[in-house]
């Protein structure tokens, strides 16, 4: 008798726990739709212009405009550890874009990563940064996007690995990584620094690539700006761990962010090229503020003695090098191919190529960026002037590319060998 009653009580408790858990799960994973609007209000021209500037600073086009002829129509595939996500159409097309989104729906998507119809967006869209944007700035962005030409472009299907195709799971990611606290200025810093810090965090989302990610794909905040990755390129650390062999000045950073070229430092390549193209079109006071902010972090890097402080060609390998044959092969490739522009040919025709002992890619903790540059060269962005380097993927075999990278690492940068070099070469070249 007693036992039966106890069993019944346990069953009731279990049911109650299940119901409570279900309610919690729904609260985490479910969001309501926001009613569509049929007419979009008109906007003040200054608001639209401010929105245009913020859209450039926020790099919206780098994901949402894969085809320059169709601005903001989306469709760019992005490889993530959880599958391939496609960017969406953010033009005001009523059927396939955001034409029926109210300001409230737009603000919710920016701050909480929720689409107008209530489905959760994947955090490839950096709403965890935009969440800290000032409401006035979100209003400006809304005005800008709602006044772009509408383009019909349906969203492409994502290709997610199981179980990440089930979008409500993103709700749990949001519990871990979506911080709703508004952005706070640092009163000890200048107004320009604070403007830069706000833009870097809430708008330009620098940390999305320059901070490493956890296994769950969230920012590893304990290692803020310690260096991350983007499209299989290494995104350098922007703090004391900066791999740069020479200290950056604020002016060099500003030139780099505006033009993609910093004398004696770097030429923007890979995903950073999109960033500098958009920054070149933004308000240059904002770019200067970003440089001030970034420089305050990079200035923490300790001074070091590196080969970058010397000029001149790279040396031949030492006769007692334990890996002499490979190093000789790498040196021959350097001398016959690279050195024509990077050393001997530093005449006008070479486009003032960087002496390789100054090239930051040689000092990175992994060889990915160097291999991408050697293989694919550096092409100026579409329709923009810029530096040109030919790609060597069709010219150098895997072994040659590996030997060249190993030689450059040792005799160019004087750094310990990359242990995973050969695997990285094969991976970068896999079809």
């Amino acid at each position: 008798m007693d036992q039966a009653r106890r069993r019944r009580r346990i069953r009731w408790w279990l049911l109650a726990v299940v119901i409570v858990l279900a309610c919690v799960a729904v609260a985490i994973m479910w969001r309501p739709a926001i009613a569509p609007v049929s007419a979009v209000p008109s906007f003040d021209q200054t608001r639209i212009e401010r929105g245009a500037n913020l859209a450039r600073l926020g790099m919206c086009a780098s994901c949402h405009t894969p085809d320059l002829a169709r601005p903001f129509a989306g469709g760019k595939p992005m490889q993530t550890p959880f599958g391939t996500v496609h960017s969406t159409n953010i033009t005001p097309d009523p059927q396939t874009g955001i034409g029926r989104w109210s300001l409230e729906a737009f603000s919710r998507s920016m701050r909480k990563g929720v689409s107008r119809d209530g489905h959760l967006l994947y955090p490839a869209f950096p709403y965890n940064h935009y969440a800290r944007m000032k409401q006035d700035d979100i209003d400006d962005l809304y005005a800008y996007f709602m006044t772009r030409p509408a383009i019909a472009a349906p969203a492409r299907d994502n290709d997610m690995t199981f179980p990440f195709g089930f979008r409500p799971l993103v709700g749990f990611w949001n519990l871990l990584y979506l911080d709703h606290a508004p952005w706070k200025a640092d009163p000890r810093q200048s107004a320009e620094w604070n403007r830069g810090a706000y833009l870097a965090d809430a708008v330009a989302h620098c940390a999305a690539c320059h901070t490493p990610r956890t296994v769950l794909g969230g920012p590893d905040l304990k290692r803020s700006l310690d260096g991350g990755e983007a499209d299989d390129w290494y995104a350098p650390a922007l703090n004391a761990r900066s791999p740069s062999p020479l200290p950056w000045t604020r002016e060099q950073l500003q030139a780099y962010l505006r033009s993609g070229i910093a004398a004696d430092h770097a030429v923007a390549a890979g995903p950073m090229q999109d960033v500098v193209v958009l920054l070149s079109q933004a308000d240059q006071r904002d770019v200067a503020a970003l440089a001030t902010w970034a420089h305050s972090h990079l200035a923490q890097a300790p001074a070091r003695v590196t080969p970058a402080q010397q000029d001149g060609p790279l040396p031949a390998p030492h006769a007692d090098d334990p890996d002499l044959q490979r190093m000789r092969s790498g040196y021959a490739l350097y001398a016959n191919t690279c050195a024509r522009c990077h050393d001997a040919g530093r005449a006008p025709g070479s486009g003032a190529a960087l002496p390789l002992q100054k090239a930051v890619a040689l000092y990175d903790p992994d060889p990915r960026s160097l291999i991408h540059i050697v293989d694919d060269g550096i092409l100026p962005p579409d329709g923009e002037p810029g530096r040109w380097m030919p790609g060597y993927k069709t010219i150098l075999g895997d072994e040659q590319a590996g030997a060249l990278a190993a030689y450059l690492r040792k005799y160019g940068a004087g750094q310990p060998a990359w242990p995973e070099l050969d695997a990285a070469v094969r991976k970068a070249r896999a079809p």
């Binding site: 002829a69 001398a335 016959n336 025709g349 030919p390 069709t394």
Partner: protein, 162 residues
């Protein structure tokens, strides 16, 4: 001096030279295939473009020792004065050459595109041809010639060569 065996335009050649000699020098000086031109010698202009294993490559940058068994094709491999290939004929029809120095490279760059992408879009043509420079400024005619060759190839049976 080392002997290198090269397969160029379907023929085997043996060349005695230093390992770091650029493929371009071997093609022009040893094999007397003078279509590919020496422009800048720095991989900046594209006038030396040839196909290596079907991919466009600047032959001034390729040490002969790194070619190995990969098949090399030059503009001479596409056709002759009497029987020009489809691309060559299209460049003639559009009068795409002014001084002509860049044209062999342009044609080989275009050949690499059309062999892989027989019906290229305008954006694909422009992106693919971007590495090759023309100082006379006949780019619009060159682009027209590439489009014309693509159209001609589209009317020919599958597998037709540019």
């Amino acid at each position: 001096m080392t002997t290198y065996r090269l397969q160029v335009n379907g023929k085997q050649h043996a060349v005695d030279t230093d390992p770091d000699t650029p493929l371009l020098y071997v093609l022009r000086n040893d094999l007397e295939l003078n279509g590919a031109k020496f422009g800048c010698g720095l991989g900046q202009c594209g006038s030396c473009t040839v196909l290596v294993d079907g991919k466009a490559a600047m032959s001034c940058l390729i040490p002969v020792s790194s070619v190995g068994a990969r098949a090399v094709r030059t503009v001479e491999g596409l056709g002759s004065v009497d029987k020009p290939g489809v691309l060559q004929q299209a460049f003639i029809d559009e009068q795409a050459a002014q001084c002509g120095y860049c044209i062999a490279g342009m044609i080989m760059q275009a050949a690499a595109l059309l062999e892989r992408t027989p019906r290229p879009s305008e954006a694909q043509i422009r992106a693919h041809m971007a590495p090759n420079l023309c100082r006379c400024g006949t780019h619009m005619r060159i682009l027209r010639a590439v489009r014309r060759a693509a159209d001609v190839l589209a009317r020919q049976p599958a597998g037709a060569r540019p």
